[in-house]
Symmetry: C2
Subunit: 421 residues, 2 copies
């Protein structure tokens, strides 16, 4: 294969090689690897012999998700990545016909999780939200520092980059009275998702020291949240309809192998973690994350999106390895393609928060937009894009890409047959 | 086909015809219909032409779960059930070779849900638990009567009848101090699960009046619960490791068509439900449910199991139709095979509670067993079986069958490589 050009500053240099699933217009969703502004058809490379001799099932890259590939395990992931690298460098014969412009691909959610878990692992976010949701209680509950708190989210409403987000309807308090209607406090949560490659059997917890044998990589996650619905419903069993309407997942899974240069020692934990949560391995990640927004009016006026937040992931309190060990310590099984998200990534200072409820001080501090309006929570037509990359040095950093969604109007009458009044 | 005999009192007379998936020793899990002490191979009937002319996909009954069949919709469900009835009555040609003794089948979980939701819809259970978990607060939170409270459970740990239940390990308070160890307050929750047949698209809620077009049937669910782990972790995001280690599902799905004679008007709701939760259709069900237990010592001594609880489902506050309407009012999609459980079914009087934490008054009122021991929470070796049927009259009632599990010892060292110390 001729070399594929990689523009300066591309999120996807040859040191990244993220995998995703998509199709170039033929509706046959299959696996691709991103390189610069292009993507290479992994099933095509498989047929062309690039992976000959590796322990790969036939047709594994023709699947509509990466689950079966992830199940192959870390030795295979490393070997496949090395072959892809050789093919891109022109050292293995493949075919130019397998290369497309990334812009031609319609991408899907890269995995089909059996379970999606949402953690709550930023100490700044948990403190901020605790103050707002429980003004009379402890901002940070005592067990927050003992265990990575999490809950199960809705797997069936994980949606791909670009999927419109319909404003949810539900019960929320208006002047203290419960009323059914569209959420007026629609928010985002900036998160990083971790994908399980190799699962575990039920009853056999994953020791934290074995996390690297199980975890494949990461993506961006926007855990859209209806704060008014969430506040009304969440006691005592946790968030439900305030979260379950949609969660956006970025298309390109970045492997922990590619992230190796960006691993950092996470913050010291006090009290020290229990043995099942203890490891000396540096499971912190030097990621930089941003939230951008434009309104429908801004887009119509040709105005550029505004950056609302710029934050870091390196000081997250609980790491992906700790989350995996916690998730399975009770014997719960995991499956290839399972996804767990970090929880909202917020920093300690203004402009580093990963949600509008924090950025707007619970709605008390509106933020001006170039179209002359202000934002606290999201309005119909608003488009939110999350961006992320690993590493501070532009010469060596690698990107997570982006994930975006635009808010659309609520269903007119959820209690009537579809579309009716 | 010759007539299949149905013993008097069988849970599976010809008016029931529940479907499940299993295999008779060949590990090829496929669909079966139960009749008396026998089961008929639905894939075999399909090949024999019993379903000719119906809108069924090829091989639909050879799948390892019923999802694809459920997606076919209520007209097909009715037509297939009528043909099965005709075949059993000997009016359609099929083949004796497709009939096996039910005891020969190893049954699985009948569906592969994309999402599993657990509701909390018994007013007696919610009141009992509220008193125990929040002694200083309102037993029943004000919004409990407005919305069917629920949360997402772990789909990957739904297990089949007979699967051993490993005692979970996790953080719990010992004398007020958080310590990691095996749960000492291991419990059950007696629940009824509802299965979605036809799903809905994201953004398009299911109106409660259309529930019958979407809901297929019911099964028994045991939502095993580690009360100590749950109490430590559940604030503010709800139950997680206290529930996610295992949930047992009964093998035979009983259709709402078979349940038609057992529909009843549910209790009047105060305040009246919102429009999206309102229907005149009688979505209550006249079910009778029981919890039985035997210990390892009882089994060794040849002693019969003891009935711990006998309760009814007809006075559940929130119905399956209301749960479905609530689940989707925010635009969340559902998929064929999705499962949602009722929440623990408890009645108002002693001996009608659906969990040991209630039956034992939070551990304060031990119950004597014939082996000379007492029970509050479950010990290793205890086997719990849930039983259920619809209708009070033995001549016409139909069974849900049973679902059982036996507690086994905890993993010795979850933080070490498997099996190590």
């Amino acid at each position: 294969m001729e070399a594929v050009p990689v523009p300066d500053g591309s999120p996807f240099p040859v040191t990244n090689l993220p995998f995703g699933v998509g199709h170039p217009g033929d509706n046959r969703r299959r696996a691709w690897v991103a390189i610069g502004d292009h993507a290479i058809d992994l099933d095509g490379m498989h047929h062309a012999g690039v992976f000959d001799g590796l322990d790969l099932e036939p047709g594994v890259f023709a699947d509509p998700n990466l689950n079966r590939y992830l199940a192959a395990g870390p030795d295979t992931w490393r070997a496949v990545r090395a072959r892809v690298r050789e093919a891109i460098d022109g050292r293995l014969p493949t075919d130019r016909e397998h290369v497309v412009a990334r812009s031609e691909l319609t991408m899907g959610v890269p995995v089909a999780p059996t379970d999606y878990v949402d953690f709550y692992s930023s100490i700044h976010h948990a403190t901020n939200l605790g103050r707002m949701f429980r003004p009379d209680g402890d901002a940070l509950m005592p067990h927050w520092r003992r265990v990575p708190i999490g809950y199960h989210g809705r797997t069936g409403t994980l949606v791909a980059d670009g999927t419109p987000i319909r404003r949810p309807v539900g019960y929320r308090l208006i002047d203290g009275e419960p009323v059914v209607g569209p959420s007026t406090r629609l928010d985002i949560e900036l998160e990083v998702g971790t994908v399980v490659g190799v699962g575990n059997e039920i009853g056999a917890p994953i020791p934290i020291g074995a996390a690297a044998d199980h975890l494949y990589g990461i993506c961006l996650v926007n855990d859209w949240s209806a704060r008014d619905i969430q506040a009304y419903e969440y006691q005592p069993l946790g968030p439900f309809l305030g979260k379950s309407f949609a969660t956006s997942v970025s298309p390109w899974l970045v492997s922990f192998e590619a992230l190796e240069p960006f691993r950092v020692v996470p913050p010291e934990q006090e009290p020290p973690p229990a043995e099942y949560l203890s490891t000396d391995a540096p499971w912190g990640l030097d990621l930089h994350l941003e939230v951008w927004l434009d309104s429908a009016a801004m887009r119509a006026a040709g105005q550029s999106p505004v950056r609302f937040s710029s934050t870091g992931f390196a000081d997250m309190y609980w790491t992906p390895a700790q989350q995996l060990a916690h998730l399975t310590v009770n014997g719960a099984s995991t499956e290839p393609g399972d996804l767990f998200a970090s929880g909202t990534v917020s920093g300690p200072t203004p402009g580093t928060e990963g949600s509008f409820i924090e950025l707007s001080a619970n709605g008390d501090r509106p933020i001006a937009l170039p179209d002359g309006t202000e934002r606290t929570f999201l309005l119909d037509g608003d488009r939110v894009e999350l961006r992320g990359w690993a590493g501070a040095d532009p010469a060596t950093r690698i990107g997570l890409g982006t994930v975006a969604g635009t808010i659309i109007e609520p269903h007119p009458a959820p209690h009537q047959p579809h579309g009716g009044q």
